[in-house]
């Protein structure tokens, strides 16, 4: 990669969201902002190659994108004389420095993750507008045709405009619920990367996990006091840290208890642990932790154990207990049962898992957990049937390979 291309890639990561956000505020139109930002970056590639990278690339891009947007509005106004050019605002001043909560990027994030949009539209719009991924990249990420993805984004932008979804950070009263909506979008992106579904995709999509972490870091930077933002970032970092040990050379998922812990990423673990300690201090001061903070703490227990035998299972079970009280979902109950198996034995855990059948019969992890517990209890025949069901329902290639080997090893 040439120096100029490298500079454009770096600036794209650092400045894309800022440029789109500033333009959206100025022109009140996501479509114009997106198109002008994309054109400005395309121009940057050409011009910087000839003239060199400008001293302040972000300001150069914002100014160029502003001009592109004004050009487009002028062109459209010529076609449509109902609009008067006089209505346009000319403003070449550099954007004023604003406090974090006044940052345009935060407005952009809340608009893209608005609860009036379908979840799949929120994902796509966030990756495009905030993350700067291209349409083909997003289409590939979610295994849909590029035309379908383009339509989804176009429809979402049209709804934002027609229904007047505001470009604003929600009021303090609504903020916790809306932040949790944003975090849900980012966690979905991360999870799709961490356990990718589909037969033709890599089992771990590092591009998606990295993008989710990058965007969560951005929100952390914009909302440093929010405990759940810190919790989600810690959670992602501690999961991502185990990525080098998670898939074997043969393409098989490696369970947590069989992973080579020396291969874990020490820097990511250290950063994740720092965030968890920060939130533990807040909890000690009386701030009740939310679900991402508790999940991060659970992961910190795992990443603190150099050997799986050193895992503090009573701590894990206690944290899951706390989580169940906050979020009584059957999936949390299933994960708690997995920890209970280590503390109280597989028989106690199996009884707890079996109680979840009504709600989780269509979920591969329910059957995989039962299969493992039945195997440990020596009930090979039932275990085999549970593995069969789990394999049938699993969508991740590495996980299917792992489950198949486990089943075939049954006596």
């Amino acid at each position: 990669m040439s120096d100029v291309e490298e500079a454009v890639t770096r600036v794209h990561h650092e400045e894309w969201a800022r440029v789109v956000a500033a333009l959206t505020r100025r022109f009140g139109d996501l479509d114009i902002a997106e198109e002008a930002a994309a054109e400005a970056f395309a121009t940057a590639v050409e011009r910087w190659r000839a003239d060199g990278v400008p001293p302040n690339p972000g300001a150069w891009l914002t100014t160029t994108a502003n001009h592109k947007a004004i050009d487009r509005i002028r062109r459209e106004n010529k076609r449509d004389d109902k609009h008067k050019e006089a209505q346009m605002v000319y403003d070449d001043d550099p954007p004023e420095p604003l406090g974090a909560i006044g940052d345009d990027r935060l407005r952009l994030i809340f608009t893209c993750c608005h609860p009036a949009l379908a979840m799949e539209s929120r994902l796509a719009l966030t990756l495009r507008m905030v993350g700067g991924l291209t349409m083909p990249e997003i289409a590939r990420a979610f295994l849909v045709a590029e035309s379908a993805m383009g339509q989804r984004i176009t429809r979402a932008k049209a709804k934002i405009k027609a229904a007047r979804i505001p470009y604003r950070v929600p009021s303090a009263e609504d903020l916790p619920a809306r932040v949790s909506g944003v975090l849900a979008v980012l966690f979905l992106v991360f999870n799709e990367g961490y356990l990718a579904t589909g037969p033709d995709t890599d089992p771990v999509r590092h591009d998606l996990t990295a993008e989710a972490i990058r965007l969560t870091r951005l929100i952390r930077e914009l909302m440093p006091a929010d405990g759940e933002v810190a919790g989600l970032l810690a959670l992602m970092l501690l999961i991502e840290a185990r990525h080098p040990a998670r898939v074997s050379a043969g393409g098989e998922l490696v369970a947590l208890d069989e992973q080579d812990r020396g291969a874990w990423d020490a820097a990511l673990i250290a950063e994740g642990h720092r965030l968890v300690r920060e939130r533990l201090a807040a909890a000690a001061a009386g701030v009740a932790p939310g679900r991402y903070q508790i999940l991060a703490a659970i992961n910190a227990v795992h990443t603190s154990a150099r050997d799986v035998r050193d895992t503090d299972w009573s701590q894990v079970v206690a944290l899951y207990g706390q989580l169940v009280r906050l979020d009584p979902s059957p999936i949390i109950a299933l994960n708690r049962a997995i920890a209970v198996a280590e503390l109280d034995g597989p028989e106690v855990a199996l009884a707890a898992v079996d109680r979840l059948e009504d709600k989780l019969a269509g979920y591969h992890a329910y059957h995989a957990t039962r299969a493992d517990l039945l195997r440990r209890l020596g009930q090979s025949q039932q275990s085999r049937a549970a593995y069969d069901k789990a394999i049938e329902l699993a969508g991740n290639t590495a996980e299917t390979a792992y489950l198949t080997r486990r089943r075939d090893q049954l006596r």
């Binding site: 608005h114 009036a116 229904a163 007047r164 505001p166 604003r168 929600p170």
Partner: protein
């Protein structure tokens, strides 16, 4: 910005019938806060008549244009600065009416 706010009932699981006092109080507030443009409850769908005069002769037919389990029981028109304000009011309206609410912007 004006929004059409539709109150939706469900024939197989109708909302409670004692909501009128609460709805009246809610309407008073909508008027006082400047959101209220129009409101009206509708008679049963069986009282509807559909007219089609696209052809040579007008054709009248008895009943609603679409038969469905869910149907419109009333509408509001609200004036609100943006969708967040409308959704917040609609969230209250759903409790007040004990029914689902659809919010749709006018063009």
């Amino acid at each position: 910005m004006q929004y059409l706010v539709s109150v939706i009932d469900d024939k197989s699981n109708p909302g409670s019938t004692d909501r009128q006092p609460a709805i009246s109080a809610f309407n008073e507030r909508l008027i006082a806060d400047g959101y209220w443009v129009f409101a009206g409850g509708l008679a049963d769908t069986t009282t509807a008549t559909v007219i089609d005069n696209r052809g040579e002769q007008a054709v009248f037919s008895d009943g609603p244009f679409v038969e469905s389990k869910e149907y419109l029981v009333g509408v509001w028109v609200w004036e609100a600065p943006d969708l967040d304000v409308a959704l917040k009011l609609a969230t209250e309206a759903s409790k007040v009416c004990d029914r689902k609410i659809e919010v749709r912007p006018f063009q």
